[in-house]
């Protein structure tokens, strides 16, 4: 009984492969991703063609339940690649899952025609085929999310690397412009970068500019103080600049002790102070 039903689906797929493919592609052309130009119609055709072929192969074995079995190995791999590549291209979850679910709708129509005279069989076949494609749909969704997570992780890494430059502006003067939120991972990276730069450039002045830091709470303040004190251990004079009126108010309200640290309202004043401490003078050229 079971084998007969399965064979029914398998045979139908093989017999009507051409028609199903055409109908399926037609169903997919409505997705917004295609209209947005994220993917060409040709690619959709290729992907659909390939998927239908490996699906027919897998179903021919008579297994419609367990998609972890070896005959579904190729399908799993294909869907994983498909979802990850679509995630990278900027498909929405719905657009990605539509690939599978539009096939389901298409095939169900064909099944209805085929089993029109056997309503009892039709019912069973429809349920089993739906379950299979639902599982595959979930799989696409899962790998899609995984692809997205990989992208996020990568971007985080890139941001961390980008966001902590240490610039030597003059002999013995380093500037650390901090932009964005300072979490503990970033604070650690800033500290390491800064200390290593102090040693390699033999700098004795460090200006840390927090103009681009939107919020300074107790944690952030402590991280800044830690970094500046570590720099001090290497013999550098540290100057904190870019303290806006809002930040200065927050710092005082929170009761954070900044008295050990030289502070200036803006980078310009900090730089002037650093020049002064190094006994350097900026002057206008004569003539």
């Amino acid at each position: 009984m079971q084998i007969k039903e399965t064979l029914g689906i398998s045979e139908l797929l093989t017999k009507k492969e051409r028609e199903i493919l055409d109908a399926w592609i037609k169903a997919q052309t409505d997705v917004p991703a295609l209209k947005k130009g994220l993917i060409t119609e040709k690619e959709v055709k290729e992907q659909s063609n390939r998927f239908l072929k490996i699906l027919i192969n897998a179903v021919a074995e008579g297994n419609l339940e367990d998609i972890t079995k070896p005959e579904y190995h190729e399908i799993n791999e294909f869907l994983a690649n498909l979802s990850v590549s679509r995630a990278v291209l900027g498909f929405s979850p719905t657009e990605t899952a539509t690939f599978i679910f539009s096939l389901k709708d298409t095939v169900l129509k064909f099944l209805q025609e085929e089993f029109a005279d056997r309503p009892e069989d039709l019912n069973k076949v429809v349920i089993r085929f739906s379950l299979l494609l639902d599982k595959l749909g979930l799989l696409t969704f899962e790998t899609y999310v995984k692809g997205r997570e990989d992208i996020i992780k990568n971007q985080q890494k890139i941001m961390l690397e980008l966001s902590t430059p240490v610039i030597q502006v003059w002999d013995k003067i380093l500037i650390v412009p901090v932009i964005g939120i300072i979490d503990s991972a970033r604070a650690k990276q800033i500290m390491e970068n800064l200390l290593i730069s102090i040693v390699t450039t033999k700098s004795s002045m460090v200006i840390m500019d927090i103009t681009g830091v939107p919020v300074v709470d107790t944690d952030v303040a402590n991280r800044i103080i830690d970094t500046m004190q570590a720099a001090k251990l290497l013999g550098a004079v540290t100057i904190l600049t870019g303290i806006s009126s809002l930040i200065s108010q927050t710092i005082v309200h929170l009761g954070i002790d900044f008295s050990d640290i030289i502070t200036r309202a803006n980078l310009r004043d900090g730089l002037e102070l650093a020049f002064g401490k190094l006994r350097l003078k900026v002057s206008t050229m004569e003539g």
């Binding site: 200390l195 102090i198 033999k202 830690d226 970094t227 013999g235």
Partner: protein, 124 residues
Amino acid sequence: MQMVPILKIGNTLIISLQVKLHDKIVINVQEDILQKIYETRAEGLIIDVSTLEVIDSFMGKILSDTAAMARIMGTETVLVGIQPEIAITLQEMGLKLKGVHTTLNLEEGMSLLQNMRKAHDGEA
């Protein structure tokens, strides 16, 4: 028994701590330093830790104590050549080296002491 030589150049005493010392020896070194300051009436003390790979909390405390003691005797202490990793560790341990000046290397330490001496003379 490990010996740590204390060198004297002009009015400055220089010690180089090169390997991790046993706690007991660290205390001996501290006594030696203070004795030497008393004998020579040095104005500056430079402790070089550039080859030291670890500074533990005990060592940190002794260093900061020594500086405080030396200051009472009229001597300024400069700790030179702290490695970045050590600076990070000290910071993470929350160890504050109070009353200790720090510079990147021995040369800058010398010039810092010189400047302080000049400023001091200027006041007087």
